[in-house]
């Protein structure tokens, strides 16, 4: 009620009293701040428009429909969009977004696995393991990420052989300084059934796990489900695959005049960028995991030991579930950082958003404001989406009031 009637008694005040009134003064300062900020923006945009007009720059987004006229380093984005120099600038945007997402996605998975392992190892009672993890964290956390990207990239270029002297594994996988060449799987008719079999396998494995969990809850009898799960998830689709007569053709890479042709090429720019980002971000995730584990009360571990749980069981069933509650928010923030740091790819020419679209297209068409706005909006959308996820997880993980 107070807030509504806050100003009702001001009517009776004199002008002088009004000036010295705290609430009036606070309101005045807030309004003034808003007015100043908005007028600054207004002047800025006004100036911008005038300057653009004075230089005869045509603004707008029509350039997106124009022919790009250049080529992009062939990687997933180009394959999916089927990019060629005849594609439009809008398609460059799509290629760039896909490449950003691929790098961020793989980077997030790798850094999580690595971070989790290092974070746990950091607290190991084994002196060597804990020291080594500590050294890893201190080393990679304290070197600027741009430097690390360039480091890995140059390692790949200089340590790996020329395509003509590729390292090959049974003529199946090839490694050289133009990338990693894997066989490209091309699904044939009937491969859909293998996929369906896999889904069914995963579904029934989850059901089975639940079933035995319920059994354990009721009777206390433990059943190891790993064997069943493996059979359902891997063996079942493989049997279906073989029964259908292997409906998958592999396109192997073969040596052409300059490069390996065919296959699925993973370019060194991608490997270097993703590796550098993962290794770097993993140090922060490891620290988040460590702080999470250390936040779990010592008594919890002692209690777990007291009821006869092994150290692994104690970690898996008692410590980690509680540690993750503390560790997940900073970890998701690191995912956000990783995604934003992927824009450093411009340094090594991986065609992601900032390099292919915010770099090449910007230089070619010169529509700086439009292009950088689009790039910013994409990063903003990614960041906000991760924030929403973070809030959801936070709510979900919050300690239930009992």
């Amino acid at each position: 009620m107070k807030s509504i009637n806050k100003f009702s008694n001001l009517k009776n005040l004199t002008f002088k009293e009004l000036i010295y009134n705290n609430e009036v003064r606070a309101l005045f300062i807030q309004v003034a701040t808003v007015v100043i900020i908005f007028s600054l923006f207004y002047v800025m945009i006004q100036n911008l428009n005038e300057n653009i007009e004075a230089r005869g720059i045509v603004s707008g987004f029509t350039f997106l429909e124009g022919r790009s006229g250049f080529d992009i380093l062939p990687f997933l984005g180009s394959y999916i969009v089927k990019f060629s120099p005849n594609s439009t600038n809008l398609e460059v945007f799509y290629v760039a977004i896909i490449n950003t997402f691929v790098c961020a996605g793989v980077g997030i998975i790798l850094s999580t696995i690595l971070g989790l392992l290092i974070g746990i190892a950091r607290l190991s009672s084994n002196y060597l393991i804990s020291r080594l993890s500590n050294a890893y964290i201190e080393l990679f956390r304290n070197i600027p990420i741009l430097l690390q990207i360039l480091f890995w990239y140059n390692i790949f270029l200089n340590a790996l052989p020329h395509p003509k002297k590729s390292i090959s594994f049974l003529d199946f996988i090839f490694i050289n300084n133009r990338g990693f060449y894997l066989p490209n799987p091309i699904p044939q008719d009937g491969f859909l059934w293998v996929f369906i079999a896999f889904i069914i396998g995963v579904g029934s494995a989850i059901y089975l796990k639940r079933h035995f969990k319920r059994k354990q809850d009721e009777t206390g009898q433990q059943t190891n489900t790993i064997g069943y799960s493996l059979a359902l998830i891997l063996l079942f689709p493989i049997v279906v695959f073989l029964l259908l007569g292997s409906p998958l053709q592999l396109d192997y890479a073969i040596l052409g005049k300059f490069n390996l042709k065919g296959g699925l090429a993973i370019v060194p720019e991608f490997v270097a960028l993703t590796l550098a980002l993962s290794v770097y971000t993993a140090t922060y995730i490891a620290e988040a995991i460590r702080s999470g584990i250390e936040a779990v009360d010592k008594g919890q571990k002692e209690a777990a030991a007291a009821i006869g749980l092994t150290p692994i069981q104690s970690l898996k069933l008692v410590v980690l579930p509680q540690a993750l509650r503390v560790a997940i928010p900073p970890t998701i923030n690191q995912y956000l950082n990783l995604t934003k740091n992927s824009s450093l790819a411009a340094a090594i020419g991986y065609p992601e958003l900032m390099s292919a679209f915010g770099g090449t297209v910007l230089n070619q068409v010169g529509q700086a404001i439009e292009i950088l706005t689009m790039v910013m909006v994409v990063y903003l959308v990614i960041s906000l989406a991760i924030s929403v996820l973070l809030n959801y997880v936070n709510k979900k993980m919050a300690i239930q009031g009992r």
């Binding site: 006229g69 250049f70 080529d71 992009i72 380093l73 062939p74 120099p85 005849n86 140059n154 270029l157 200089n158 020329h162 300084n177 133009r178 052409g256 005049k257 300059f258 490069n259 042709k261 060194p268 411009a346 340094a347 090594i348 020419g349 065609p351 390099s355 292919a356 770099g359 090449t360 910007l362 230089n363 070619q364």
Partner: protein, 197 residues
């Protein structure tokens, strides 16, 4: 055609990038483009074997090749695939400065055509054009708002166009460019200076 399937290092956002795509498309050549931010990076990629070919303007290629530890290890291919004339650039709207830069170039080209060099400029007096180049009996300085000896000073100090070319980027320098179309129009090139008066 021989280049099909090669990896090509290019600098991002350049006309070279567009020219290569046009040329390769027109000739049915496939290639992998390795696009980097700076021309130094494209050289690094080329040296490290990331790409088989490096493409840029011819003069740029020549200077990059000169910067290599072993310039003989790389060859600049003969077929030029686009027109990329380079020259002095001035800001728009400053006509006086534009005139000075423009006439500096004209004076250097005319000097070569008239056989005036940094060495003989004090002695040759064969015809009125040479007289004017040497800064005698000329009004050009009045239009350009320069000192009467402006063209004399240029030629005396840096020489005529040919001298400057040979000294900085010519065949006897590490960059090793031949004159090509940068030859005088009287010798089969396209360099032409209007009447110097």
């Amino acid at each position: 055609m021989e280049m099909s399937g090669a990896s090509v290092c290019i600098q991002a956002g350049t006309t070279t990038e567009l020219n290569l795509a046009d040329w390769a498309g027109a000739n049915g050549i496939s290639y992998d483009s390795v696009v980097v931010e700076t021309s130094a990076q494209s050289l690094d990629g080329f040296l490290a074997g990331r790409c088989d070919v490096l493409t840029s303007d011819v003069s740029q290629l020549a200077s990059l090749r000169a910067a290599m530890d072993d310039p003989d290890a790389a060859v600049i291919l003969g077929n030029v695939i686009s027109k990329e004339p380079l020259g002095p650039v001035v800001r728009q709207g400053d006509d006086e400065w534009f005139n000075i830069v423009k006439w500096t170039l004209i004076a250097m080209i005319q000097a070569e055509e008239s056989g005036v060099t940094s060495e003989n400029i004090d002695t040759v007096t064969t015809n009125p054009t040479v007289e004017r180049l040497a800064g005698r009996a000329s009004q050009t300085h009045e239009y350009l708002h320069l000192s009467p000896s402006w063209s004399y000073d240029i030629i005396k100090q840096v020489g005529n166009y040919g001298e400057s070319f040979e000294r900085n980027i010519g065949v006897n320098t590490p960059i090793g460019l031949s004159r090509g179309p940068n030859q005088l129009w009287t010798k089969g090139g396209i360099l032409y200076a209007p009447a110097f008066r």
